[in-house]
Symmetry: D3
Subunit: 157 residues, 6 copies
């Protein structure tokens, strides 16, 4: 894991390393604070599933990898807010289940929800709610995604 972190950092520095003035470097080193905070948060919440997403972007779009760490995790998830991690993941799982067009991310966030203490039962309740607001197909597909995640977690143990 440590290896990955370093390689992404190196990568990121490599990208932004051409012809920088000192001023830019200072700015980037601070950008790195958001990045580090985000990277830590991503690992805390999404765990390995999140790291794999970042890893998969490394060659094709290192900058999207960087932004994914910085904005969603370094900024948004790191906010000190009235919403705890459980509530955040309940909101995100609801959104992704309702949209119904982002299955890989739905599974990542079902996983994240379970990681931060949302129970399987609570997640299946959310899918029942979705039957009302996004229709039964979204509810069924969300519930089957939940089922897959539960099974994958069992196998990993």
């Amino acid at each position: 894991m440590k290896h990955l972190t370093i390689s992404i950092f190196t990568l990121f520095i490599a990208i932004s390393g051409y012809g920088q003035t000192e001023n830019q470097i200072k700015m980037d080193s601070i950008k790195t604070e958001r990045f580090e905070r985000g990277w830590k948060k991503l690992k805390e919440i999404d765990g390995e599933a999140g790291e794999k997403v970042i890893e998969s972007l490394k060659d094709v779009s290192p900058d999207l990898a960087k932004y994914t760490i910085e904005y969603p995790f370094g900024d948004v998830y790191s906010r000190e807010t009235t919403l705890d991690n459980r509530t955040k993941e309940i909101a995100v799982v609801s959104a992704l289940a309702a949209m119904g067009n982002a299955r890989p991310q739905l599974k990542v966030h079902i996983n994240a929800a379970l990681n931060v203490g949302v129970s399987e039962e609570e997640l299946s309740e959310i899918m029942i709610l979705m039957s009302v607001y996004a229709g039964f197909p979204s509810a069924l597909n969300g519930t089957l995604a939940l089922k897959e995640v539960i099974e994958e977690r069992k196998m990993e143990k």
Copy 2:
């Protein structure tokens, strides 16, 4: 068909207390349990905004009015579940903000969320989360819907 329409009208009127035939009462009285439970729940959660939705459906589709009371409220919202009303509304507001194609319902549920104790601050946090998962337009439109609801509630007082 005519018969059914009439019986449903009767049912619906029964809420405000007008006479049913005995035959209808037997069938309806059981349906009416889900219906009554749903109607009570709808008023508890959505308040006047919810009643207006039902009222607006009365002429054009009394059966959709009935189902809206029975399934979402009589069944789903009435479930004794690990999710409290606050969490349910957080899930629903997230879903509707993310889909971005159901503004009237989003406003009804922002209202409902405020009714059951979700704070304005928590709702604006949810919209910030949506900027990540459904994009900034959904987040902006959700936040402006929140702003409208807050202003409407101020004026009503």
Copy 3:
């Protein structure tokens, strides 16, 4: 109305009229067959509401107006097929109600459905079906669009 038809034709010819070889002209004169067939079909099905849509496009995008007449109406609606106009409109209203992001077109096609013999009752049944497959918000918004169209038609009489 005749006036409009002519002005659109003129417009269309004006657009494609610069420096054509004889070969192109022959092609365009036949394109006009699809156009004429489509224009007749559009008036038959959508009536005035459809004509207004075309009229509104005249300045900003005469070519989209042309394509709207040619492909949806000249080609697709003019197909001699096993589906009659009623069934076609039932399919289209269902699609637009389910997507929930094209209210003006939903209203045009609710109108069209009523024009070709689908009853108000059948349309409200379709919206009830949509509560299952696209969720209650889509069903409610579709039903309220139906209500508006019914009222507008009453006022026009």
Copy 4:
């Protein structure tokens, strides 16, 4: 099949069986009427494909299984309405093809449509209509889903 029915019933009773007052039991026994009617309707329309969906939910969300039987099938599909089963499935297939984010359900309902007498030709006509209202990608993906269902049905024979 009988076996499955029983197991779901047992399941359902097991869930709602703790600490009921007599009053609740009476209510549930009537809920069971909707359930039975819905289960019969589901088998009539969706056939084996529908049963598999319910079976797949059994462990992860028996309540969503129950609601899927009760509301869509026990209530909506069981309505005595001016829409026959053919028309209903045409509406549902149109909605699911247009939304484009619920492929498993689209295939189940293409199957259902063929079961209740909609022809392959009619279904491909619907997809052509969708090219106009939801774009060519939805039309193409819907047509290829139709193709898959046709091939699967051939193999099953």
Copy 5:
């Protein structure tokens, strides 16, 4: 390839060949001009990927195949317009990535974009833009689709 072209033409003629009056034949022979122009354009832009789509529709919906060639390619892509092919594909890839429910078509058009001179870097920039307007899931899924296309093109060489 020539063989396929001929077989589709034959197919198309076979379908529309029953009991035509002379007038219809004249019309169809010109329709064929749009068809030929479209078929040439489709091969120019989408290459083999596009031909495979058409081939896959041949049995199940030859008319959708015909329309796919005629309207999108014979009409729209063949327009002599201020937009060059590069810009067109940038617009189409953006649209498909944002909708997030048409992955096969997204891959076809990423391929098409690369065919007409859009660079891999430009495509990954577009996906970064999509993170803002359609959310990070659409951006990630679009970027991973880009990655797959790049890898498939490497293997084909």
Copy 6:
């Protein structure tokens, strides 16, 4: 304008101003670099329309205002990339027209596109492309949004 800038800055500082250590202040002052860069970019591209969006968020969600300036404009639009502003706006307008659920943002970006040199004709070409990929309703609604923007710009002069 200057006044607004200052008030937003003050606002932003006010929010993050409680109990900061010196370290945090250093970080924030650099965050402010993204903010300043973003704010400048927002004014350059979206002009007054963009400023109004930010202004409208001020009371209800100053943090979403901040993020809207920082991520979309400070990060994404400020990238030194192979895509020029024209191409970026073409991509964004395509995405928003295709999604069809973010009309205010579509209008802001049609405006932005015109500001950075995309012509009215090019924008109407993009909408014609959308008729293929997102359906005629999206194309029509996008074209009518374009028409509104053109008229609003005429009136402002």
